[in-house]
Symmetry: C2
Amino acid sequence: MRIQALYHVRSDAGSIAARAQGIAVEQSVEMPLSAVEDARVMAEIVGQVEDISDLGNGVFAVRIGLAAETVGGDAGQLLNMLFGNTSLQDDVTLRDVTLPSELTKKFHGPRHGLAGLRQRVRVTSGRALTCSALKPQGMPPDALAALAARLARGRLDYIKDDHGLADQTYSPFATRVRAIAAALRIATAETGHPTRYIPSLSGDAGSMKSQVAVARAEGIDTVMVAPMVAGVSTMQSLVNAFPDMAFMAHPALGGVARIAPELLIGKLFPLFGADTVVFPTHGGRFGYSAQTCRDLAANARATGHGSMPVPAGGISLARTAEILDFYGPETMLLIGGSLLDAKSRLTEETAAFTAAVAAHTYR
Amino acid sequence: MRIQALYHVRSDAGSIAARAQGIAVEQSVEMPLSAVEDARVMAEIVGQVEDISDLGNGVFAVRIGLAAETVGGDAGQLLNMLFGNTSLQDDVTLRDVTLPSELTKKFHGPRHGLAGLRQRVRVTSGRALTCSALKPQGMPPDALAALAARLARGRLDYIKDDHGLADQTYSPFATRVRAIAAALRIATAETGHPTRYIPSLSGDAGSMKSQVAVARAEGIDTVMVAPMVAGVSTMQSLVNAFPDMAFMAHPALGGVARIAPELLIGKLFPLFGADTVVFPTHGGRFGYSAQTCRDLAANARATGHGSMPVPAGGISLARTAEILDFYGPETMLLIGGSLLDAKSRLTEETAAFTAAVAAHTYR
């Protein structure tokens, strides 16, 4: 039972066979095959080069079969076996992975996913969901709560913490979450729309679990984790521990290891339990191409019950229609700084954003 | 109180000032400055470009002052603030960091470090320490224990798990650790040398803590974590929870290309509590230059009480003298596959390795 891992390798034609074999060994037994004395290990555990194809321009696609047995059911160990040591070699990127179904079953996938995220905000129609972020960090809890209330009065579906908000002295997690939850209870009673707050978790699994308990006591049912900062096993553990919570994955630190974003954010984060994944969309201040973003979103929706793609990263209100046409309605659109720039007109600008999403006719 | 973060940025001279400012904003408030209404946030929290210098060839060194307040004392949050979103932009690498002393104090640094690693194996002289690894994964606990015994009879100082060994069905953590610890008790009684076993931890902080408890019950006092797989906050939490344990950091998923290894492995892992750091040395199957390796080792030794550098990654026995001269005696030399390739002569080859290290005269 093999995992199919697809790598892109910079090489010349004369060296690629040996280089591919080197990756297969590095990502499995990591020792000279001449020293492997156990017949079962040679047959079942050593990685196997299954295909090499020339992509042109000195890049080759190399497909390697890795033993699923080496992973067990741990998300961190899966990343370790896919790219642990090879991430240290700069001629290789990890492009894609296909898991055998026995292994896929060991991971939760998005438990609430597309439908659960819609149910939380009572949007079952075909429109996209809306989201904004609480910024800037450095503000005290009361100021962030007041900001959240103004955004909620514009009828947003979700309001997430900026991923920089953690458990800082000037804005401790518990104080912040209680203040914002209280402000949203008042605002949503006014609007009649159940705007949801998504707090950002930080620290190790233990402190994150305490934070979820604080959030849950305030009626919060969706939280955010940055899996590459926290460790993917940490997110997996939270997903197992809190079946009632939906999880939003933030891409912070996701660029360090040369793993294709379509795979890391689009497939693996959902596989490990993210119900919704944030990523920087094309044409903003990050370098992902339109094709990468399209594939990432499609991958996320196709994982298990589906993970909701959240294009973000400097989207302006003026781009709403274009972005909606590009991603379609099974999307949560996140506009942060561009809304905040409206300052005193924040609620009106937010209302314009949510109205535009509600009224949009998809091409 | 500012963190000094040094980035290398690909740019042209006409764009670098704006690009540097963009990074300063991305890694702090992540919103248009025009929308920041709080005077304290503008003065104290927004990142400040402190220096830009042209390194030639279209690369600029950009030094940015980031507010230490945003970090608190959480290792994951420090990485998040240094490189969270910017890791997603491929024109930037994070090269170096200088923390204000108030922030450094919030992290443990290596608690046992250079001296503690020597005390464990009763090597207080000026010779380098020795290490090998248990491979290949796929072997059952008894076979790994027999292998460990043969290595120990060659008088190694440390024997670590291959970082692929986790908690697999064919080799569950607790069964493996007990079998290997028992085998080493017998072998070290024969040799009189206190060879130490370093098991590799996996899963989230909770499962790692259970694993440490299993190891401690067997008298084990040193364990291994891959901080980029586990999450740096997870390692930090273990360091806080187990003051008697020394921690070895494995570089898996450390992705060379975007965070300088001298910084990530040489400075940050030790800062977060690694007593010893494994890294792929120059001239092996990884691409680090000699200068990178020298700087990485020097950084590790200089952090707090000092973290022991462990050059590794395909070192052959024939390179022992060269490597020892390069790194000097405050080093743990790790040879894995090359020893295992001796097969039936494993103990003799190991003995030759440890004897060569003991007898080496440093140039």
